[in-house]
């Protein structure tokens, strides 16, 4: 496990794209799990790479399915709540966050699945996570870290160990404040 001494900043730029501009294997993979649901496609540029993301709502759950630009699956994220994480794991996460941040509030929780196409498909369709799936929790915190007041993205593994912390670069909101 490695925790950065200084939270790295996370820059992202995203834009809507048409399904026709998405690699066929990405479309095929999403449609194999979500046949009737409306899928929104986005391109996402970060400092490291360009990815493609499918966002959709199905059965009351919000899914984000991320691919590399060739259409290879990277991960699936499902919107959840911190209170839904099992007690032992959430306690481990809390202990770590208490040490890392002066104060914090979890404002968004996503469960992240990584694995082969077939294991990911089984995890989504059966609601039972195969052992081969690499599961993480991605949290967004409204927090104070090293006197910095901001949102932070924290990635934890399935046992609650913190894998990384990124400071989220906030969009300018001066036009909404003044």
């Amino acid at each position: 496990m490695w925790i950065p001494c200084h939270a790295q900043k996370k820059y992202e730029r995203e834009y809507a794209i048409r399904q026709s501009a998405v690699p066929g294997k990405a479309v095929e993979f999403v449609k194999s799990m979500f046949k009737k649901d409306k899928i929104h496609w986005y391109g996402e540029e970060s400092l490291k790479e360009t990815t493609i993301e499918a966002k959709l709502k199905s059965g009351g759950k919000h899914y984000s399915i991320e691919f590399d630009k060739s259409g290879e699956i990277q991960d699936i994220e499902i919107l959840s709540r911190f209170s839904r994480i099992d007690a032992e794991t959430s306690e481990a996460i809390r202990k770590r966050l208490d040490k890392e941040f002066t104060k914090y509030k979890v404002v968004k929780t996503q469960i992240q699945y990584k694995g082969s196409k077939s294991d990911l498909k089984r995890a989504i369709l059966s609601d039972k996570v195969p052992a081969a799936i690499d599961m993480h929790y991605e949290l967004i915190l409204n927090a104070v870290w090293d006197k910095k007041i901001n949102y932070f993205e924290v990635l934890c593994d399935h046992e609650g160990s913190v894998v990384s912390i990124h400071e989220v670069v906030q969009r300018n909101s001066d036009n909404l404040i003044y």
Binding site: E12, R13, E14, Y15, A16, Y42, H62, K105, N142, A143, V144, K147, K148, I149, N150, Y151, Q170, R171, N172, S173, D174, N175, L176, I177, Y178
Partner: protein
């Protein structure tokens, strides 16, 4: 998105059709904001705003369609971050109107939250306005604002966005209370994250304590620079 933009526009500004009988003012409302980052958690907003009237009608008077420079405001508000979503601020405004100055003290609280497809902002303001030979005017204001990217989820550089504001102002002056309601629908362009321009239409209605309400129709242009 464009269809909903048009529908909201018509809903808000259709009352303009009744210009002929109402007490109203119509004109332009340009605004320039220079926001200076003082430290990680402190920001100073300097705002220069003016109003130019092109058409107006006062109670029991004829409509006047001529240019009139109504007033200019210079505002400075210092805000401090309380959390990633909340800020607290205080400031001062000086207004020049018909050769006379007015002074205003401002206290404000803001909450801005990011949602899946939009940003929502709440602003609560109290202010006190002082004019020579007039009672102090005290106002309590609440504004809700929505901002939505027209392409994708976030408003990135070189992208257009839609903005909708709705504000309610309780006004107390000289033992009399009034209400003002404002609505703004604007199209914005985010040139960079520190340079934005917005253009839209703002409708205001007040003087609910009189038999005929006063209405205002503004073409609003706002420029926001952050350094």
């Amino acid at each position: 998105m464009y269809k909903s933009f048009l529908a909201v526009f018509l809903l808000i500004f259709a009352p303009a059709a009744v210009f002929s009988q109402a007490v109203y003012r119509a004109g332009t409302l340009p605004q320039f904001n220079l926001n200076i980052r003082i430290s990680d958690n402190l920001k100073l907003n300097n705002k220069l705003e003016s109003r130019q009237i092109f058409s107006e009608r006062e109670e029991e008077q004829q409509t006047r369609n001529r240019f009139r420079y109504e007033r200019a405001d210079l505002t400075m508000v210092l805000t401090r971050k309380l959390s990633a979503a909340n800020t607290l601020g205080g400031g001062y405004l000086i207004r020049l109107e018909e050769g006379r100055f007015a002074h205003r003290l401002i206290q404000q609280f803001n909450n801005v939250t990011n949602h899946e497809y939009a940003r929502i902002a709440h602003r609560i303001v109290t202010d006190e306005t002082f004019r020579r030979d007039s009672s102090v005017q005290v106002r309590l204001r609440y504004r809700i604002g929505f901002e939505k990217a027209l392409n994708g989820i976030n408003i990135d550089p070189k992208e257009f966005y839609a903005k909708l504001n709705n504000e309610y102002l309780g006004i107390y002056e000289d033992k009399s209370a009034d209400l003002e309601i404002r609505a703004l629908l604007a199209l914005g362009y985010n040139a960079t994250d520190n340079n934005r321009i917005e253009m839209g239409f703002e409708y205001r209605v007040n003087e609910f304590n009189k038999s005929v309400q006063s209405q205002q129709y503004w073409l609003a242009v706002s420029w926001f620079i952050s350094i």
